[in-house]
């Protein structure tokens, strides 16, 4: 890989000639050719070019070189600079072994070489490697590209980037000059896109607006998802039976599995009450279990403990269990309403809805 970075002209040429598939073979002989080609190019005068052109012209045999004639052109150029006698040995090492192009390369070179002979030698300008390479890459007519070459060749007509350039450059400066930015262009653009730009600021703003609108709709959709059409939940109000079913001091655990409620007949602040405790630990939401022998609720997750009245006394639970609303229904049964909860630390247990006096 490292070799590729410092490829000499000869190497590039060899690689080009070897073609895509055979490129592997090319770099090997290339280094041999490189010093020769470069060394000769400098020393040989331009004159032999004409000489080279003659025999070349005699054998005009461009063999089907549609795709890359330029390579051959360049080779011819390079070779033309040397004597014809020297051309052959130079080409040999340069061309990779399997390359059948060695012959064709030498022959079709005639045509471009002749072309060079026509225009090139008269001006006495020597092509430098940069222009040769550029020509090779462009795959088109060889011509001066670099600054050194520029005067030798009429500058290409500057193609105005915008058709409606206010002042197209008519003169032919050595290098194409960028047309001055026309003032009219801006006005035109404003006419065309002004509306959206005024409405939304820019395309960036448009993108972000669309994104946020989409995001907002998505969030709304998500929020809707949280309220299902059908909810298979036990009703929040349910009857638990008559008062007689809850003797003093009893913690009724049979409603836990279905409703998540303990119905307790106990004493709170000097008053005998029946209340419904929510079976959710106030620490992290586990379900405590009622331990009859110890007369306490005990949470299996972090060991919080609550008295029968729901007051927290051990472990990390920061506040008492919550109460649900409870009342005596019209038929005399007790009815628990889970839609309302009462918290002791907020003083809500004084609310008459949070208990039924016995």
């Amino acid at each position: 890989m490292a070799d590729n970075k410092k490829m000499s002209v000869a190497e590039i040429l060899a690689a080009a000639r070897a073609g895509g598939g055979k490129s592997g073979a090319a770099p090997k002989p290339a280094p041999v050719a490189a010093p020769e080609a470069e060394g000769d190019a400098g020393s040989e005068p331009a004159a032999p070019v004409a000489a080279a052109a003659k025999p070349a012209a005699a054998k005009p045999a461009p063999k089907g070189d549609g795709s890359r004639p330029s390579v051959a052109d360049i080779l011819a150029l390079a070779r033309a600079k040397k004597g014809e006698g020297e051309a052959a040995p130079a080409a040999k090492p340069a061309a990779a072994k399997p390359v059948a192009a060695e012959k064709p390369a030498a022959k079709p070179s005639a045509k471009p070489a002749a072309a060079v002979a026509k225009g090139g030698p008269k001006t006495g300008v020597q092509r430098d490697t940069a222009s040769i390479l550029a020509a090779a890459r462009a795959g088109a007519k060889p011509g001066p590209v670099s600054k050194a070459d520029a005067p030798a060749r009429p500058a290409p007509k500057p193609k105005p980037a915008v058709e409606k350039a206010a002042e197209p450059v008519r003169a032919a400066p050595p290098m194409p000059v960028k047309p001055a930015k026309p003032a009219a262009k801006k006005a035109d653009d404003e006419d065309r896109r002004g509306f959206l730009q005024i409405a939304l600021g820019s395309f960036m703003a448009m993108g972000f607006t669309a994104l946020s609108v989409t995001g907002g709709l998505f969030t709304l959709g998500l929020a809707r998802y949280l309220f299902p059409n059908v909810l298979a939940e036990p009703p929040s109000r349910f009857k638990v039976g008559f008062k007689d079913g809850f003797p003093s001091g009893k913690v009724e655990t049979k409603f836990v599995a279905q409703y998540g409620v303990w119905v307790v007949n106990g004493e709170f602040s000097g008053q005998q009450q029946i209340y419904a405790l929510k079976t959710v630990c106030t620490h992290l939401g586990c379900t405590p279990s009622w331990l009859e022998a110890e007369q306490k609720f005990k949470c299996p997750c972090h060991g919080s403990g609550f008295y029968k009245d729901g007051i927290n006394f051990e472990g990390p639970a920061p506040r008492p269990l919550e109460r649900y609303a409870i009342r005596t229904a019209d038929d005399g049964q007790l009815e628990v309403d889970k839609s309302r909860a009462f918290q002791e630390e907020l003083g809500q247990w004084a609310d008459p809805d949070s208990f039924v006096t016995v």
Binding site: P300, C301, H302, F313, E314, P318
Partner: protein
């Protein structure tokens, strides 16, 4: 509940193989030591030990339950009686300190080998206890047993290299790592090693999954919590932290601080030494802080949560039956209660009926004044105080901002052991307790 015959029959086969494995392990060690010539004494010790293990193995495999080697019942009862969260935590801290102070002794290969053997034999003897085996051999908990041995091994390896390096540095020699400075390429050397490890670990996990399938529990229910309800093993330290703190602190603030603190470490560390080699002597503070946080405040809590926390999150001794009816008398009290009621013998400051919001907040602040003052002093007064006393050098080298971050991270880390000790000694629940705002500390 004591071990019965059926259980012992089940476990005897495993124990026989286990003791035979220890015997084999020591036999190989004896042969290797014998070949080294200069360790002949130790070679004899380990070969004798291997013979003893073979005796234990044959006893276990004898087919008679009464012959299975086990700890005497009196010892088990004593261990159960002595064990408790207080002893456990203080004990692990003491062990940590001892391992650090006497590290030169513990890193000797023969000492480490002896400790490994003792640990394995003790575990084998304990395994003959039904309650111990039920917990240790539970598929969930097997990784924790592995963790204990693996962590001990890797800590030993690192500590040994650090001790060797410290000795060399004291003699003016470069650390061991500098001698072997050969560069190894990531690709292919490291990547190949990783590939091989990946294949080996995958195969191991496959076999593990086949032979120790995860237990299938009852269907989940929002109104029924398993008792005990345990987090995944790697979060058991977190669950143990939650016993002592409000969820927002132990579940959100402390874990975030752990992550933040780990990220901040390279920026807080001004000590250029110990870069690229193991050393304890050159970075005592960093070493101790990290190991304390990792071992005492994380690993030992995982072990505590796995093996010693039973139903209702009560503490159970290693040989104790996990009965959900164990009564543990606890009565945790908040600091305001202690201060106003127990100390000053006055009722808690309560806002009068129908007081405005501002006056309610005033009363809450008054009620929580002792806790607020204590916490404020801890977090605001201690760092500057430490800066001019213990951490004088740190403050000078780190500058104000870095020092304050370091000091606060450290103080917040220490809130955990402090709170744990306060819970056990004074039955303290919360230093600041504002249930009205769900704010407790």
């Amino acid at each position: 509940m004591h071990s019965n015959g059926f259980f012992l029959k089940d476990v005897a086969g495993f124990l026989g193989g286990y003791y035979a494995f220890i015997a084999l392990m020591n036999g190989v060690a004896a042969v290797l030591l014998w070949k080294r010539k200069n360790q002949a004494g130790w070679a004899i010790v380990w070969s004798v030990f291997a013979g003893a293990m073979m005796v234990l193995a044959s006893l276990a495999l004898s087919g008679s339950e009464s012959m299975v080697p086990a700890l005497p019942s009196a010892v088990r009862t004593l261990v159960n009686k002595l064990s408790g969260p207080m002893l456990y935590t203080v004990g692990t801290m003491a062990l940590f300190t001892a391992l650090f102070v006497f590290r030169k002794f513990f890193v000797q290969p023969m000492v480490a080998w002896s400790i490994l053997n003792i640990a394995m034999v003790l575990m084998g003897l304990s395994m003959a206890d039904e309650n111990f085996a039920a917990i240790v051999m539970k598929p969930d908990n097997v990784p924790i047993v592995g963790l204990v041995f693996l962590l001990a091994f890797f800590t030993w390896v690192a500590t040994k290299q650090a001790v060797v390096n410290d000795e060399r540095i004291a003699q003016g020699l470069p650390p061991m790592e500098k001698l072997d400075d050969e560069k190894v390429l990531v690709w292919p050397d490291l990547v190949y090693t990783e590939l091989i490890c990946m294949v080996a670990v995958s195969a191991f996990l496959l076999f593990w999954a086949i032979f120790l399938p995860a237990p299938l529990e009852e269907p989940a229910s929002s109104v029924k919590t398993p008792n005990p309800s345990k987090a995944p093993w790697y979060f058991l330290g977190l669950q143990e932290m939650l016993v002592y703190f409000d969820p927002w602190y132990a579940g959100v603030v402390l874990p975030s601080l752990v992550v933040f603190g780990l990220m901040a470490m390279p920026y807080l560390d001004y000590n250029k030494k110990g870069n690229g080699y193991y050393s304890i002597e050159e970075r005592k503070f960093s070493y101790l802080t990290y190991q304390f946080g990792f071992f005492v405040l994380w690993i030992t809590l995982i072990i505590l949560g796995t093996f010693l926390r039973g139903p209702n999150w009560n503490f159970y001794g290693p040989f104790e039956y996990w009965t959900p009816y164990k009564v543990e008398v606890l009565n945790n009290v908040d600091l305001p209660q202690m201060f106003w009621v127990n100390l000053l013998d006055r009722p808690l400051p309560r806002p009068p009926q129908g007081a405005g919001t501002l006056s309610q907040i005033g009363y809450i602040l008054l009620r929580e004044a002792p806790g607020l003052v204590l916490l404020g002093a801890y977090l605001l007064l201690l760092p500057p105080l430490l800066a001019v006393t213990v951490f004088r050098g740190f403050f000078a080298k780190m500058g104000f901002v870095r020092y304050m971050i370091m000091a606060n991270l450290m103080l917040l880390m220490l809130t955990l052991p402090i709170k744990m000790l306060l819970r056990w000694t004074l039955n303290l629940k919360y230093i600041i307790s504002i249930p009205e705002l769900s704010l407790n500390f």
